[in-house]
Each structure stands twice: as structure tokens, then as C-alpha cells.
Symmetry: C2
Subunit: 469 residues, 2 copies
Amino acid sequence: MHLLAIGGSDGGISAALRARELDDAVEVTVMLDDEFPNFSICGIPYLVSGEVADWRQLAHRRREAIEALGISLLTSTTARSIDVAAHRVRATDAHGVERVIAYDRLVIATGATPVRPPIDGLDGLGAADGVHLVHTMGDAFEVLATLEQRRPERAVIVGAGYIGLEMAEALTRRGLAVSLVEALPQVLATLDPELADPVTTSLVGHGVDVRTATTVTEVARDGDGLVVRARARLDDGAATPVEIRAGIVLVVTGVTPDTELARAAGATTGARGAIRVDQGMATGLPDVFAAGDCVVTHHVLLGETYLPLGTTAHKQGRVAGENALGGDRRFAGSLGTQVVRVFDAVAARTGVRDREAREAGFDPRTVGASGDDHKAYYPGATTVDVRLTGDDASGRLLGVQLVGSVASAVHKRVDTAATAVLAGLTVDRVSDLDLAYTPPLGSPWDVLQVAAQRWLADGRARPARDVAG
Amino acid sequence: MHLLAIGGSDGGISAALRARELDDAVEVTVMLDDEFPNFSICGIPYLVSGEVADWRQLAHRRREAIEALGISLLTSTTARSIDVAAHRVRATDAHGVERVIAYDRLVIATGATPVRPPIDGLDGLGAADGVHLVHTMGDAFEVLATLEQRRPERAVIVGAGYIGLEMAEALTRRGLAVSLVEALPQVLATLDPELADPVTTSLVGHGVDVRTATTVTEVARDGDGLVVRARARLDDGAATPVEIRAGIVLVVTGVTPDTELARAAGATTGARGAIRVDQGMATGLPDVFAAGDCVVTHHVLLGETYLPLGTTAHKQGRVAGENALGGDRRFAGSLGTQVVRVFDAVAARTGVRDREAREAGFDPRTVGASGDDHKAYYPGATTVDVRLTGDDASGRLLGVQLVGSVASAVHKRVDTAATAVLAGLTVDRVSDLDLAYTPPLGSPWDVLQVAAQRWLADGRARPARDVAG
């Protein structure tokens, strides 16, 4: 039995590790098109910031450790086509030499590629000009080269999602003046505006020039440097042109699934064009599984969607590896649980927000609550802001968003909510949770429970709903 | 309608607040035998340490805030007897004047009193001698008086449970040399020995003289100071006498429910002699409810037990207040979730440990796992040690214990486990949880999930169980 995984990041490696864990006898190969198997690309911002001194540290496991488990690595090898009937993959290695690899079971984990937004001039510029899309280790090295060789004083980051915010912090830490440009009216559009505000405050407090409601229209060379042109929407609806000069421009506006190989082999696609798999990670093609950022995401509350996250890729890969060996594991589903640290602020979410819930057929209501992370009498208490969404029809907890300081442990508070949502608990039940308390580290009622109690009280206070409405 | 609560701490105040929240018209009175309604007695160690500068800060709510809600406070008023048939409580005020208070619904929340262990000389010594049992605000003032007036250089703390550890830290912070004496073979006997060890290491690292397996037999005056005599058990089973001189001795060996008033009125008692209530907090006496450290604890996994905790008292009080007004709320049950910070170490647990589970009829198995609190490549990672107990018969998660640094957010990690146990999740399902990850604050697989995966793998690896055994 030979299991071949195409892709050396979370999905492919997790599949390989799981197969090896379950069966010592199976032959396991991971093919990847660069030299960086099992690297933590989520760590790139911390390499760029200098907090991680050596890129080798970003390996979840060293190459030797993977090989010591009996997993063969075919690096710098690009899969070109899959012959599903013959159970063969045609690939080319670093020297352009074609290789044909036979498999019994295949796991496609080709990941995603960065979106190239429609910005004039972007296609003609690249790393040599100081314009970067940031996704792979190779991209990270190019960013570092620009920083070290061109020594830019100013940066423009296009896109204020998770990666944009992390890169804004990273470049600020390196001493650059950073402009963060976002077409939407707020940073972190995955959070309600009420909770994005404290994140913006943290960014601005650390010197980042935050420009929301500003759509980049052009990037161009400007002498030795670059110029970014954009259109800022004013409160009155009018637009005003913006021009920002910079020595480096990062474009981080999301990713799109890399499905070319799978589609050519006959795989069907679903949400956002990602490879369609069932919850067992089967593609429908005989003996072909897929996992990670290239596949659709089964969401606990939303059904099929596309929500590429490292944690999800790990879980999907593990399922794919188990089922490729004949197992019957199902991916339990994503809640889109995410967390980002931006300087001293942490923002997190799990489950769905009000609008997402409504679109999915729920009857949602959302409340906000704020509370101290621990008893105010003990020094150092900071505020945690929560927004909680529940379903009025069933009482079920649908989602929670939180913002607070690093010390307030927002990054673990969200896990309590994620557990409650996955378990299908009602909002009422959240108030019943027996959570831990000691004055320097908590409150007798956690702020999540305060939010739950407010949601319940508001529900009782509401006039009866107009059924016809 | 007049609701009377006897007891001004978590149980009584929570009942009063809940009643007020539900019905503006109900008359609500809280009777308490000191001048400190709604004080956070969990905060006493931080008052003693000096981290909380003013004792008034320990009030969860100021007296005026409670009264502004329309709750009457009868302070320094001690309930003497309850006439259940007549719905009347006889009490005496600070001047010894008898008062009779009529009620429609009564909530007994008399709390607990410190255990006085069988130590020769203890009964003849008190605060004036520098010997203290620490439970009430009054006790705290006496400890502070001893510290300020006698300026002791050495302290002996008898009992290495939660309060003993917190007081050891508090007195160390004040500059005292502290001996912590515990009859059991480990500190924090509520944790498995493997996890108590790092707590001991933290104590010893901060200069605390930790003496486990040492039973205090006598406390005596010794010139201006005190001497504590004890018997230390050696590894070979022999015992050796120990004598420690100190200027202050704290005896913190647990509490026992204060039930005299309720028993005299006809209430029945259950586990550890606590007042028996149903999950609605009804005592069985007409219109008499009870809550907090004076009542039995309904445990999610163990049924009726006695596990006095502030968080539980808040929840029970809230249920009692709601049901006293005719509601039909049930206390969802305790998991004994607890956390303690000892210098820079944090220890937490939820649910049951192996032996407790076995005694309760489960088929438990426990595994240990350790992991970094966040990706090791990002600076500052520390180790979190976990022990996870699951039920082999059902696969259900029964309990989790954790130890780590303050920065590792052990205090919120335990909440994830508490939520999973309350929701009845299997260990397998823990591995499926969609938890948050960002490199500076987590790992793609949380250490709790690593422990769950190990538990499952070990279970599969085990030989089939001998059914006859």
C-alpha cells in the first residue's frame, strides 16, 4: 500500500503522519513543490518582524524528523497531472525531469494561492520591485530580501485581514512606517464593527496609518520606490484620491483554492471553487482524497463553505490520512474559530455572526457585554469585550466574538465558546457552565456568562415577535 | 412578598440580586452577622499580601450599590432561630437586641466555618497570640493586625490546599519566611501528584519551606512567639519530630458547612453534614431554600457531594432567588472546576480524577501529556502539563487537570475542558474541537487535544480487558 500526498503543508503532512501512526507497514510519500515541508506559514509575520531569528525554526518538524518516521519526501517536485484510472501522478522535479509516481491512495493537499486583486500595475511588478504577495516560505524570503537590500522606510499593506494586521505589526516592529489600506469600512471585516474598533485603536496607538474604506487602484514604480494610488470614500459618499509612497508594498487580500490539478483529474468543485469532498475527505474520484486550503469547508452551522485555516487543514488531513487507509472518520466540522494578536490586542471569534446566521436560516439575535478579565481589585485588570449571537428559535448559541488584551486570555476564552457551539449548547446553558475562578485570573461569572445572561434577559424583555413580520 | 436571605456572601447576595432582577415589586432583605455584605473572601490572600491596598476594594459591590437596587441590608444581625410554620426568623442585632423578621420566602446561606483540626493547644490560642483561622473579613483584619503589630519574621501555615498555597505566597510577598506544613504526601491533594510537583517547585523556588507528609500535633506559645510541633513521616515509614518557631500561625485545613440554624428548623442534611437541597435549592421545609457553602453540592458526575466554591455559591444563590419567587430553575451541577495561582504557576482542574471516577462507578483511564502553550519558535513558550481522564465504557471525558505558567492561560484552558465535560462530550470529540490558533498564543493542536489523541491511541493499544477481572 502506497499513500501519496501532494502538498507539504498542514493538510498533506497531517494525512501522511496519521497514516504512518495507524499503520507501520504502509508506504507514505509526500510530494511538494518547494523545499519547506511542514513549515508553519502562519509564522511568517514573526520571521519578518525579527521575533523569529532563523527561518528554520518555522518548521513544525524538521525534515529529518519526518523522514525518521519513514515518510519519504519528494521536495521541489511539482505534480503535473493525475491519472486516476492508472493510479499514477506525473510530476517534474527541480531539474525539469519528469517522474511518474504510482499510488494506491492519493491525498491532494495543494493548498491555496494568494488572490491578485484588480489593481493597475500589479501584474507587471514583483518582488524585485518590492511588491509582494505573501503566502509561501519563498515569498517570505523575498520580503526579507527587499527589507534587507532596499531598506525601505515606508510600507503599504493592502488588505486589513488577519495577515494584513500581523504584517502591519511585523513591519512596525522592524521600524518601518506602515500604511494599512482596506477597501471595506473597517479592519478585520470578520468581526462586528464594535469589536474591530479596539483593534484599530491598537494599530493607531502603535503608529500604523490605518485607511479603511480606501480601495487601491494602482501600484507603480516611482523612482527608486513605489507609489500606491487609491480612492478613499468619504462619509458623505464622495471619493477622494489618495497617493502613498513606499519602499515596499504587500498585497494580502485573501486566498483562493489551488484546484487546477484536481479539476483536470475530474474532481468536482463547490464553494468558492474549492474541491468538493465529503466529510470523510473523499473527492468522489476512486482512491483520491483531498484536504486543506484546496477543499471546501464543512461548517458546523453553515454547511458547505470555504474557510481556509491551518487548524482545519490539520484536522482534514488527519481524517484523509485515516480514511485513505480504509478508515471511516468524519471531519466534525469547522466553526471558523480564529484569533489574531495585533500588538497588545487580541481579537477572536467562533461560530457565526448575526448576518451569517440569518442567511443560513437561523433566527439570530446578538448582544454585547464587557467585563474585567479578572477581579478589578487585583492589579492589572483589563476589559474584555464580547458579542454573543444566539438563535431565538432554539435558544442555541451560534457564535461569539471577543476582543481584549493578551493578558486577558481572549485566545483561550474563545475556545470555551467554540466548545459550547460545537456541543450544541443553548445560551442558557452557557450561564450554567462551571468555569474556573480565582481573583487574579477571573471572575465568579465569566464575561461570556454575563453576555449569555444579558442575551436571555433581553429576549424575555422583547415584545412578542410579529409572526407575520 | 418578602424574600429574606440569611447570609451576606455569594449565596445570599446572589439570591437577593436574582429576585430583584426578576421582580421589582418583591421586598428583598439580606441579614448578615458582620458588616461586610458581598465581600470577595477569595480576595483575602491578596489583601494580606498587600497587592490589594484597601480592604474596601474587596467588595464585589459597595453597600450603597446593593441598597440602591432596593435590597435592605440587616448587618451585624445574627439569625438565632427560624419558625418555619410562622414564617419568622428571630435574630439579635449588634446591641444584643432581639428582632423578629417575617418572611414569605427564606434563603438560608449561612456558609461554612473553618475546620479546627485536632492540634494540641489550638483551642487555647487565638488571634491575640498570632494563631489564626482564615475565613471571614474579620479574620483577615486580625491577620493584618498580627502582621502589623507583631511584625513576625516567620510564619507557619498548616494546610497546603488552595488557601494555604495562596497565603504562603501572600506572606512570602510580605517578606516573611514561610513554612507550609501538610499532613498529606503532596501539596494540592486535589491534583494528581504528577501535577502537584511543579506547584511544589514553584513554592520552593520562591523560598517557601514545604513540608509534606508532616502532621501538626501541637501549637504552643514560646516566649513572645509560637512553636509548632509536628511529626514528619519518612520514606521508610518511620516518623521524626519537627519543631518550627514562628511569629504567626495560620490554620487553613478546609471548611465545614454551617448548618446549625437550618437543622434546628428541621432541615435534613446530606454529604459532609451539609443541608440537603434539591437541584432547585429547596430544603423541603415550606418556603425555605438554601444555597452556598452550607448546602450539599450536586455534582454533574458524582451526584450529591460537598464541594464548597464561590462560583457554585453564586449559581446556587441565583437558582434559589429565582425559585423563591416561584421559578422552576435547576442548578445544572458542579464539576468542581477550580484554579489556583501560586507565584508564577497556575494549577487547575475540572471534573473527576481517576480514583474519584472509579468510586463513582465509571471505568476511568488517565493519561498525561505536555505541550508548549504556543509555538516554540515564537519567544516565551512555556510548558503546559495535562492529565486527562476518560471513561473507557462510554468514551466520555470525565476530567482534566492542568498546570502551567500564568502566561500559558491554564486558567482559561480548563474552561474548555469544563465545557466539554458539562456537555457530555467524548474524549474523541475533544480532538474534533475547532479551537483557536495563532503562533504567539497557541498551537494547531492544543495540548488538550494532544492528550485526547493520546488517550484514544492508548485505549486502542491496550489488550482487551479481562471481563472477569
